[in-house]
Subunit: 362 residues, 4 copies
């Protein structure tokens, strides 16, 4: 299944950045969940650019719901989100269709689709396709919130500048929900934005690391061996363009620890079992342990840069130089924040429905 992910709750993505419309079908979400179109619009807005930092391309990104919602509630049948494309200026891309942009999917798409895929602006590979994920994710996030499950992501690092770590997660998530540039330490956020602006001036780009926390998830969700929480979340997260690494809890940093440091001691907190630390990121044996789920995601620098690059004309088989024109973000890491929230919400809705039944989120 290529553009569909999930078992009990599944998302299907469609569209190309320069076609008439893109969108998503969200299937299997429980009936009776209130659908707040303002919240969807709010999430769509978060996915869009922060003025000075991002692409001057302006999609209105109005989301039309074509099915699955009646009287403001989910029906239980597939919800279809449609987002029309506008302002696409395909002219900027005309010369590119046979020249491989380094870091992009042009050449690999050519190997797979033999030149038939729509390469304008990335086509079906475009980050724009995440708009459908975000629309569907908004419904998933609302459904989870009704069960006391909250998700939030901050920019843990960008262009070499680090944000502080999660501290009081509940409060941190509350704060993050309304921020246009999702950092826990505003000062570090300013430094990041300066670096992004600098990259823009240089015709270059920067990447970053996103850190996501989930609270309120019940213990006992996830399945050995292959439907581990880590495996399923990573599978979905790696589908987001530009993601090149995923780690849970302390992740790669665990490799330098001793077992006596890495193991999280259990203790009773009144009648609840908790762990003293959370190096494992809330997952043991692939199954949630009731502590906050923590996942970190590496976002590579946006591959679209204005600096001249060495590449090939892949139909002619000749070397060439490429200087991109048009509108390109010097960073997408801040725009990916809401995409991560959305993807993780969708996976969790699926896992909870599998574990507790299709009515669990109703």
């Amino acid at each position: 299944m290529k553009n569909t992910f999930g078992t009990s709750v599944a998302i299907t993505l469609f569209g190309e950045s320069h076609g008439p419309a893109i969108g998503a079908v969200l299937d299997g979400i429980a009936p009776g969940i209130p659908v707040d179109e303002d919240f969807i619009a709010h999430q769509m807005q978060k996915r869009k650019s922060v003025s000075a930092l991002s692409t001057p391309r302006r999609e209105t990104d109005a989301v039309k719901i074509l099915s699955g919602v009646v009287n403001g509630h989910t029906t239980g049948t597939p919800i279809t989100f449609l987002i029309e494309n506008s302002d696409t200026r395909s002219g900027d891309y005309n010369e590119l269709t046979e020249i491989a942009r380094p870091g992009h999917a042009d050449y690999t798409a050519y190997c797979k689709y033999h030149g038939y895929s729509d390469s304008r602006g990335g086509g079906h590979f475009s980050g724009r396709i995440t708009a459908g994920l975000v629309a569907a994710g908004a419904v998933a996030l609302s459904a989870l919130e009704r069960k006391g499950i909250r998700i939030g992501t901050h920019i843990s690092a960008c262009a070499g500048i680090a944000d502080r770590s999660f501290d009081n997660i509940e409060k941190d998530l509350q704060d993050l929900s309304s921020l246009p540039f999702a950092v826990l330490d505003e000062k570090q956020g300013s430094l990041m934005q300066q670096e992004i602006a600098k990259a823009r001036q240089e015709g270059d780009s920067v990447g970053g690391i996103l850190e996501t926390a989930v609270i309120g998830l019940p213990a006992g969700v996830g399945e050995p061996w292959f439907d581990s929480m880590e495996g399923l979340l990573a599978h979905a997260i790696f589908s987001v363009p530009a993601v090149k690494g995923v780690e849970f809890g302390d992740g790669f940093a665990l490799c330098g620890m001793k077992g006596s440091q890495a193991n999280d001691p259990f203790r009773m907190d009144n009648d609840k079992i908790v762990t003293e630390t959370n190096h494992c990121g809330g997952i043991l044996g692939g199954i949630s342990n009731g502590m906050p789920l923590l996942v970190r995601t590496a976002i590579k620098p946006t591959p679209s840069i204005f600096k001249e690059q060495q590449t090939v004309h892949f139909k002619n088989g000749t070397d060439t130089q490429l200087s991109l024109k048009g509108r390109h973000d010097p960073a997408i890491v801040h725009r990916a924040v809401v995409v991560l929230d959305s993807v993780i919400a969708l996976v969790l809705c699926d896992q909870l429905a599998l574990r507790f039944g299709t009515d669990f989120l109703a």
Copy 2:
């Protein structure tokens, strides 16, 4: 699908570490592939301990093939691998069934299985279940090798000691195939082994990072959005116990680079399209680009340590102390090398069969 992974080529794992037997069913592998039982035994041996470093538990790990192989060739129908357990000394575990070992799945399994799962030695969560993966992986590796696709893993870091990076990958993979402790720089390997021995003396454990390279993979394999090479490989790799992070190419290190550094320039190499560097690890847009596929996997320190730990008795809901007895590895990172090779081989066989048909590997 919980213990089954794959679509055209699928693996199903079964068994508990202290039951009569464990094993795997490998389904969908092409007919006519030679099955070399010596190679399977060789791989099983690699998964076992290196004398001084690992658990004194000695399974003979003889693999019986119950189906799917006739006259030394795959039939195309399911291959069943059976490995009997022996020497299990369950007594060592008796006291543990209701005390959560920190870093282990005891408590999360209890939340999920309500106390019915076999908790002796980890039961179905035991690293021992990877023996079935390795047996099946041996067939997958042989199938790939016939198509010129080779896979190898080295211990990139262990207990804070770093191995050198891949250099001449073809030669490096050749060298790694016969090494009992898979490092590219023997001296660094000695230092790692000293650290492992030291951890053993301290009743503690260490973790590490594995780096895997795949060469010979054709360009054009992988599917947007959700069946990206990264997503599928990460999904499977996170199923391996103790894995807490997965990154492709330069992974998390990409986040500190500029786009102009991270983008791999394309160039012609005679009539072949290659990239000058390989920061992306051979995958662009989720699709292979024909360069070596590179993936790094974080293995947390073995959670079974002898030092006293704080934990809870999860049925009684009381705090308690735990000092493990029995046989436990101070490191499993070197034993995970062959498991990674196996898991990756299985995913690639599946992806190639989906892309080029069920006879591709025949």
Copy 3:
């Protein structure tokens, strides 16, 4: 996966009969297949009513393609078909939302969706949703035709009147492709239409049996045990509303035969292996044998009838009588012909892509 079917080539259906639009996403079809919008329109027209026989409701059923087709060819990425609803007159259904129409899904939908589903005109259960199947099926049929694989369905029986059986299948399929009422014997077709007209006058409805033939399918497609050709085709066919039976070859009639009658003798036809008879419908052991694939599908009488019926008000829990108003077909069997062709084409595209690779149909 609820509204998605297929593995390598997959279809996702969405929409409700009285919402703004319905449609389908066709994912995984090979790149480079010509998409003939006239043929799609032709198929949509076949799904619509034959003047005197069917519902006076008139959808224009114009199919918009939102993605996946560029310059008249498939791109290899998801194709989205959108069909706007119009002329829905929801008023006719207002009284029905809590009264179970016998033979319909109102009550079972209520049990599943707790009253949140859109029940107007069947909502997501409406036969109208097959329009998306037919649009996607048109692309699948075109793809198969390029490989010499042809599919056709006739009304084998309707209202107790039988059509003749397939004889010269190639010629029969040719003839069927242009018929508005798909019978092989025109005279029998007239009798059927008389019975349908009579049922209309009585405020009643009739059902029928469809027989489908596929020629040109290579031998060796299908997988034991669970991905048998019969299992996959039946799974998909039973998704079509009103289908209550599926049989392959002589199906239920085989049960009264002796083995010596039912076995199809093999023989050489020049250098090709054929069978003398085709009682098995072209499938042995779940795998195609290269002979015509034959499948018969039972369509129950349309449940929407005007005669007064005994039923319940399922929210109140009271008995009641129901007399339907509005526009209802006295038969859908003739409209289901193109739906069957479409469903079967989609399953075969998937199976061929799995067997021979994603480029097979390219």
Copy 4:
């Protein structure tokens, strides 16, 4: 997924009739379900032959449980059933490996596996593989029974002799559970057995129709469009060898009815909603309605007959005659009874776990 079926509860089949062992892995069944090895043995016995009617081949069919059961209860992790083959006399099959037995999978297996599959006794296509289904099905049937869901199958027709229909289903199921030859009317059963004996004398074989009833299934199970109860059950049932037709409720007979006859009127039965008749077989819109689920399955005559048959030598490409030797059943319809019960139980366990969560059957 070829030899694996199911989503939340999944079965994987393996083995060949003349290899060392066959079996099944049952994954995802809830923890804590009592496993009664006597009941498994009882079911295995039902699958075996009734003295005079069936193959003289005698497998002891002792089922070894290798995993997933501890202290007589399911653990929630995969249950592995192993059944050793014995008494295989492969000599009888030696001459057959390149001659296509009419009605068998020899030729289609050759097209698919290029001669590598194990063709002795049908290999992986053998009806013997159903033994694994029956073992797993026994656990599924026990799990369902704890929830008040009961399944039973009778031989509705065999060799042209008809059994009476279900009447008092609860009592009929009770009676069927202990019968060696599953008919509701003993006299008709005797006539059937006479016909089977006669077919044996003639070196021929007969087929039949099985009718299965399920009671106690809650309303609201099944999913439009593609995971309809009919679609999922038919998919699984068509996996059973020799099945060529599946119908629900009145199935094909509905096609000759008027809507006013075929629609089942709803009525209140105290505070429960029931239907007056059950032509639809307990399923409307693909979702269970709480009435008995009824499904009928067409079993073709056993293709192994002793009469001389026309066929081909498929490697040489020459016509030839074939007279089978060895041990072959003149009918398998009575042996398929328990296989149908098992398959249906497995599908229902999966559907109930998806609908109500993984603990529903616990």
